[in-house]
C-alpha cells in the first residue's frame, strides 16, 4: 500500500521539479531573441484496476514542448526579408541623393553660373578678367559633374563590397543550417523534439532572410530544405550550395550573384531574388545607379557638346586674333565618350563582328543604355532595346546599314568573316553612362575663348525702311569665311504679304528666301547662306539691304558670347526627332537637372516610404511570432509559485507515506 503512495509522491515531485526546471529555463532565456517558450506536458498515469475500481497512480512527464507557430515564424522571416530589401535600397538612395544636391552647392547652380559668366563675357569681351571667370566657372561645372560621377562609382564599389559580404554571410548561414539539419535528425532519433536546436534553426533561417528571401519546406525526417530566388535550392537536408559574387555579364564594375553547380556557375536572375538585403542591393545597382549615371551623363554630354560646337564656330583672341581655329572648351577622357560591352558569355571573338557607335547630335541623346541582341522571335535578325526597359518597342537593326537612333549612329555587321555570329550573343551600348566622370576642361588660356562671331551684320543708313539687326549667331561653319554677304529685300511674298522675299549674294554665289518677322534668316527650308542665323527687327521695304561681313575687330565683338549665353535658355537636352524632320520637346540644361533631381528625389521618397511600411510590417509579424512563442516573466513567476506549491504538496505526500510506513512498522514491531 505504502509503496503506491511513495511512488505517487515521487512521481508528483519529479513532475513538479520538471515543470520548475522548464520554467527556470524560460526565465533564463527570456532575453534571447528567437527563443520559444517551453512547457512540460504532464499526463495522468493509467489507473490500477482492483475489485473496487481504478486507483490513480499519479502523474507522468510526457514531453517538453515549445510554444511555436510555424506559420507565424515563416511570416516573420519573410516580412523581415522584404523590410531588409527596402531598407538596403533606401539607405543607398539617401546617399545617392547628394549627387543631385540642390541650392548653391549643387550642379544646377554651377550650370546657371556658367551661363551667367557667358553673359558677363558678352558685356566685356575684351576683358581678360571676364574670360578668366568663364574658365573658372567651366572648371566648377566639370568638377561638379566629375564629383557626381565619382560618387556614383563609389556607391557602385560599396554595393559590390556589400554583395560580397552578403554572399559570404549567406554561405555561412546555409552551411550552419545544413549542419543543424543533421544534428536535428540525430537528436530526433529518441522520439522527442530537440527544442533548442529547432529554435536555433529558426533563428538561422530568420537571419538568412535578412540577406535573401527564402522559402522553406520541411522534410519528413525533421530537416528543412531552403530555397532562394524562385526555386534555386540552397540547403537540401545536410547539404548546402555555395553562392558567389561574379562580375555582371556586360559590365565588370557591376555585380551579379551566381550559384555553383558542380564545376559550373549559374547566374541568378536578380529580379527573382524577391527580398533580403541582397535583392535591395541588386535593385539599387541595376535600376538606381544606372538611372543616375545616364541622367547625369546625358546632361553632361548635351551641355558640353553644344557649348563646344558654338565655341568652335567663334573667333578666339590667340594672336593674330581671329585667324587661329577655335578649340573646344570641354573634352571627354578615353572611354567616357560611349562604350560598347560584349557579354562575357558571348561565343564570338571581336574580329567576327563589327559594332560601332557615334554621337551625332548630343541634344537628342537619351538617358538610357541599349542592349543589342538577336530578336527572340526571329533568331539571326538583330534588334536594339533600351535598358532599363522604358516600354518602348525594340528597334530592328539591319547588319551593314547604319542605324540612326536617339542622336546616335550605330553600325553593326554580324558577319565580318562571312559567318554570322551566334544568335545567343549580346552586347550592351552605353553612350552616356561614363560621360560625367570623364569630363574635363580643355582650355586654360583666356584668349582661347571664342567670344567673337566671325561675322557682323549691319543695316546701311541708306535703307528707307526701319529694319535693324537684332542679333547674328553662327549655327554652321561658314561656307566662305572671307565673303561679304548682301541680303536685299525684294518685296512682299505674294502668297503672304506679312512676309518679305529676299535675295542674297555671297561673292559669286547667290540665292533667295522668305523672311517672316520674328524668324531668323535663313529659316528652314531656305538654304544656308554662310553659316549664320540672322535676327532682324523693324520693317524692311523693298530695296533695303542688310550686309553681313567678316568681323574686322574680334577683340571687341561679343556675338559668339551672346550665342553661348543663349544656349542656357534653349531646350537642348533630350530633344526628340519628329517623323517629318525637325525636333521637338527637350528641356533646358537647368530643367533637365531639375527633372533628374525630382526623379531621384521621388525614388528616394518612395523607397523610404516602402522601407517604413515594410519595416512596420516586419515588426508586427515579429511581434505576432513573439507573442505566441516568447516568454512573459510575470507568467513564469506565477508558474514558479504554482510548481513550487505542487512540489511542496508532493513532498507532503512523501512525508505522509513515510509516517504511514513508520506507523505500520511500529505496529508490527511491538
Amino acid at each position: 500500500m505504502t509503496t503506491a503512495l511513495l511512488s505517487i509522491g515521487v512521481r508528483a515531485m519529479t513532475a513538479s521539479y520538471a515543470s520548475l526546471q522548464t520554467t527556470s529555463h524560460n526565465i533564463a532565456n527570456a532575453g534571447v531573441e528567437g527563443y520559444s517558450r517551453q512547457e512540460t506536458l504532464l499526463a495522468t498515469s493509467k489507473g490500477l484496476f482492483t475489485g473496487a475500481g481504478f486507483f490513480g497512480r499519479g502523474v507522468d512527464v510526457v514531453e517538453v514542448k515549445r510554444a511555436q507557430d510555424s506559420f507565424l515564424t515563416r511570416e516573420a522571416a519573410s516580412a523581415k526579408a522584404l523590410s531588409a530589401m527596402d531598407q538596403a535600397r533606401a539607405g543607398y538612395l539617401v546617399q545617392m541623393q547628394s549627387v543631385f544636391r540642390t541650392g548653391e552647392q549643387g550642379l544646377g547652380h554651377a550650370i546657371s553660373q556658367f551661363f551667367a559668366a557667358m553673359s558677363d563675357l558678352a558685356s566685356r569681351p575684351a576683358d581678360t578678367a571676364s574670360r578668366q571667370v568663364v574658365l573658372a566657372r567651366a572648371q566648377d561645372l566639370v568638377t561638379r559633374f566629375r564629383e557626381g560621377g565619382t560618387q556614383l562609382a563609389r556607391l557602385q564599389t560599396a554595393v559590390t563590397e556589400e554583395v560580397s559580404a552578403s554572399v559570404q554571410t549567406i554561405n555561412g548561414l546555409a552551411a550552419s543550417i545544413a549542419k543543424i539539419n543533421k544534428d536535428i535528425v540525430a537528436a530526433s532519433a529518441f522520439g522527442q523534439e530537440p527544442n533548442d536546436l529547432l529554435d536555433e534553426r529558426d533563428r538561422l533561417i530568420s537571419r538568412l532572410s535578412e540577406h535573401v528571401q527564402v522559402s522553406t519546406i520541411p522534410a519528413g525526417d525533421g530537416t528543412v530544405n531552403v530555397f532562394i530566388g524562385g526555386g534555386q535550392r540552397l540547403v537540401l537536408g545536410a547539404n548546402a550550395e555555395q553562392l558567389k559574387r561574379v562580375p555582371d555579364m556586360f559590365d565588370a564594375s557591376r555585380s551579379a550573384v551566381a550559384v555553383s553547380e558542380g564545376a559550373s556557375l549559374r547566374q541568378l536572375d536578380a529580379g527573382a531574388l524577391g527580398g533580403g538585403r541582397l535583392a535591395g542591393l541588386m535593385q539599387f545597382q541595376s535600376e538606381d545607379i544606372v538611372a543616375a549615371q545616364v541622367m547625369l551623363g546625358q546632361l553632361a554630354r548635351a551641355l558640353t557638346d553644344t557649348v563646344n560646337a558654338q565655341q568652335t564656330l567663334g573667333l578666339n583672341l590667340q594672336p593674330p586674333a581671329g585667324t587661329v581655329a577655335s578649340r573646344p572648351l570641354f573634352g571627354l577622357e578615353h572611354g567616357a565618350s560611349g562604350s560598347i560591352h560584349a557579354a562575357g558569355t558571348n561565343q564570338s571573338a571581336s574580329s567576327e563582328y563589327r559594332l560601332e557607335m557615334r554621337v551625332v547630335d548630343a541634344s537628342q541623346l537619351r538617358a538610357t543604355e541599349y542592349e543589342l541582341r538577336s530578336d527572340p522571335a526571329a533568331p539571326g535578325s538583330w534588334q536594339l532595346l533600351r535598358v532599363p526597359a522604358d516600354g518602348s518597342p525594340a528597334v530592328p537593326i539591319v547588319p551593314g546599314v547604319t542605324l540612326g537612333i536617339d542622336g546616335l549612329e550605330i553600325d553593326f555587321d554580324d558577319a565580318t568573316t562571312g559567318v554570322p555570329i551566334p544568335a545567343t550573343d549580346r552586347f550592351l551600348l552605353a553612350p552616356v553612362t561614363r560621360a560625367a566622370i570623364g569630363l574635363q576642361r580643355l582650355l586654360s588660356d583666356p584668349l582661347d575663348l571664342a567670344a567673337a562671331s566671325p561675322f557682323v551684320a549691319s543695316a546701311p543708313a541708306a535703307n528707307t525702311g526701319s529694319v535693324s539687326v537684332d542679333s547674328l549667331s553662327m549655327v554652321l561653319p561658314p561656307a566662305d569665311p572671307a565673303a561679304n554677304v548682301v541680303i536685299s529685300f525684294t518685296g512682299p511674298d505674294p502668297g503672304d504679304p506679312s512676309r518679305m522675299l529676299y535675295s542674297w549674294t555671297r561673292g559669286a554665289a547667290s540665292g533667295s528666301g522668305t523672311w517672316t518677322p520674328g524668324k531668323p534668316i535663313p529659316a528652314p527650308p531656305d538654304p544656308d547662306i554662310n553659316g549664320f542665323s540672322l535676327m532682324l527687327s523693324g520693317v524692311p521695304v523693298a530695296g533695303d539691304t542688310v550686309e553681313v561681313m567678316p568681323t574686322a575687330f574680334p577683340e571687341f565683338n561679343n556675338g559668339n558670347a551672346l550665342a553661348l549665353n543663349a544656349l542656357g535658355g534653349r531646350n537642348l537636352v533630350g530633344l526628340q526627332e519628329l517623323a517629318g524632320g525637325g525636333v521637338a520637346g527637350g528641356a533646358t540644361f537647368n530643367d533637365a537637372f531639375v527633372a533628374a533631381l525630382v526623379d531621384i528625389g521621388v525614388r528616394t521618397q518612395g523607397a523610404e516610404a516602402a522601407a517604413a511600411i515594410s519595416g512596420a510590417r516586419a515588426a508586427q509579424a515579429e511581434q505576432a511570432r513573439a507573442d505566441k512563442a516568447g516568454v512573459n516573466l510575470d507568467e513564469e513567476a506565477a508558474r514558479l509559485i504554482q510548481f513550487q506549491q505542487s512540489y511542496q504538496a508532493a513532498a507532503k505526500v512523501l512525508q505522509i507515506a513515510q509516517s504511514v510506513f513508520a506507523d505500520l512498522l511500529k505496529i508490527s514491531g511491538s
Partner: protein
C-alpha cells in the same frame, strides 16, 4: 493576448527611437530653417526651389549686363551733351565771323577757336568708358575709332552698328559712331550729299573762313551755310541724345522688372523650401511632449513585475 517581456521591451525601444528620430528631424529643420534639405524631403518643392534659384542667377546676370550697358549709355549721354555745347560754341563762333566789321585778323582768331572746337569734338567722339571700350566703337573698331586720314578728313575706322549685351531687351554697350557723328541727315535735296559729318561741316567752315581776301558776300555765304549745317547736325545730335536718354529710361524700367522677377523668384524659393517657423515650433513641442510621455510610461511599466511581490 499574451504579451511577451522581450518583445514588449523591444517594441518600446523601437517606438522610443522612432520618436527620437522625429524629434531630431524637427530640430534639424528648426536649426537650418529649411523644410526641404534634400530632394526626397519634398521632390516637387525641391524642384520649385531649384528653378527659382536658376531664375535668381539669371536675374543677377541680367542686372550685371544692364549695369554694363547703363555705364556706357550714361557716358555716351554726357559725351553727347558735351558735344552739343561745343557745337553751340562753334555756331556762335561762325556767326561772329559774319560780323561785317571784322577783318581778316579777327576772322583768323575765330578760325583758331573753331579749330580748337574741332579738336575737342574729336576727343569727345573718341571717348572711352574708362575700361578700354570706345563709347562710339560700333561693332568693333581700331583704337581710337575716329582719326584724320591723309587728306585731313576725319574718318570712322570701325564697323557700323551697335553691340548688344546679353539681355531680353536691346541694351547696347557701344553706340554706332558712324551714324552719330558722320551720318546726320543734311535735309538737302540732291545733288547735295544726303548726310553730313560734323567734322566735314567744321572743316568746310574753317576752310572757307580762312580764305584770305574773301569778299564780304563769300564770308556771309560761308557763315550762312555753315550755321545751317551746324543747326542740321545739332538737331541730329539732340535726337541721338534723346534716344540715349530714352534708353536710360528703358534701363530703369528693365531694372525694376529684373528686381521684381528676382524678388518673385526669392519668394518662390523661400516658399518652397523654407520652414514655417510657427508650425515647426508647435510640431517640435508636440513631439517633445510625446517623447516625454513615452519615456515616463516606459519607466513606470518596466518597474512592474510579479517578482517584486514574491518575497522569501
Amino acid at each position: 493576448m499574451r504579451v511577451t517581456t522581450y518583445s514588449a521591451h523591444q517594441s518600446a525601444i523601437f517606438n522610443l527611437q522612432q520618436r527620437q528620430q522625429g524629434l531630431q528631424k524637427t530640430q534639424e529643420q528648426l536649426t537650418s530653417g529649411k523644410r526641404v534639405a534634400k530632394p526626397s524631403d519634398d521632390p516637387v518643392a525641391a524642384a520649385r526651389a531649384e528653378r527659382a534659384l536658376a531664375a535668381m542667377t539669371r536675374a543677377d546676370a541680367h542686372q550685371r549686363a544692364l549695369e554694363a550697358a547703363r555705364t556706357v549709355t550714361q557716358f555716351a549721354e554726357t559725351a553727347l551733351g558735351d558735344a552739343g555745347e561745343l557745337i553751340q560754341q562753334a555756331r556762335e563762333t561762325v556767326l561772329a565771323a559774319g560780323n561785317p566789321s571784322y577783318g581778316e585778323g579777327e576772322r583768323r582768331a575765330l578760325v583758331l577757336t573753331l579749330k580748337g572746337v574741332r579738336e575737342q569734338l574729336l576727343g569727345v567722339a573718341n571717348r572711352s568708358d574708362g575700361a578700354g571700350n570706345y563709347l562710339f566703337g560700333g561693332q568693333g573698331t581700331e583704337r581710337p575709332p575716329f582719326v584724320d586720314d591723309a587728306s585731313g578728313r576725319v574718318v570712322y575706322q570701325g564697323t557700323p552698328g551697335d553691340t548688344h549685351v546679353a539681355s531680353d531687351e536691346a541694351l547696347s554697350i557701344s553706340l554706332d559712331g558712324q551714324r552719330t557723328w558722320l551720318e546726320a541727315p543734311s535735309g538737302k535735296a540732291p545733288p547735295a550729299p544726303a548726310s553730313l559729318s560734323i567734322f566735314d561741316v567744321l572743316d568746310t567752315a574753317i576752310a572757307r573762313l580762312s580764305v584770305s581776301g574773301a569778299s564780304d558776300a563769300d564770308v556771309a555765304l560761308a557763315v550762312k551755310e555753315g550755321v545751317g549745317d551746324l543747326d542740321a547736325y545739332h538737331a541730329h545730335l539732340l535726337a541721338a541724345r534723346a534716344s540715349t536718354g530714352e534708353a536710360l529710361n528703358r534701363m530703369d524700367q528693365a531694372e525694376l522688372r529684373i528686381a521684381d522677377g528676382k524678388l518673385a523668384a526669392q519668394t518662390e524659393r523661400s516658399g518652397a523650401e523654407d520652414l514655417d517657423l510657427v508650425q515647426a515650433i508647435s510640431d517640435f513641442q508636440n513631439r517633445q511632449t510625446g517623447y516625454d510621455a513615452a519615456l515616463r510610461a516606459y519607466s513606470m511599466v518596466q518597474r512592474l513585475s510579479l517578482f517584486n511581490y514574491i518575497s522569501g
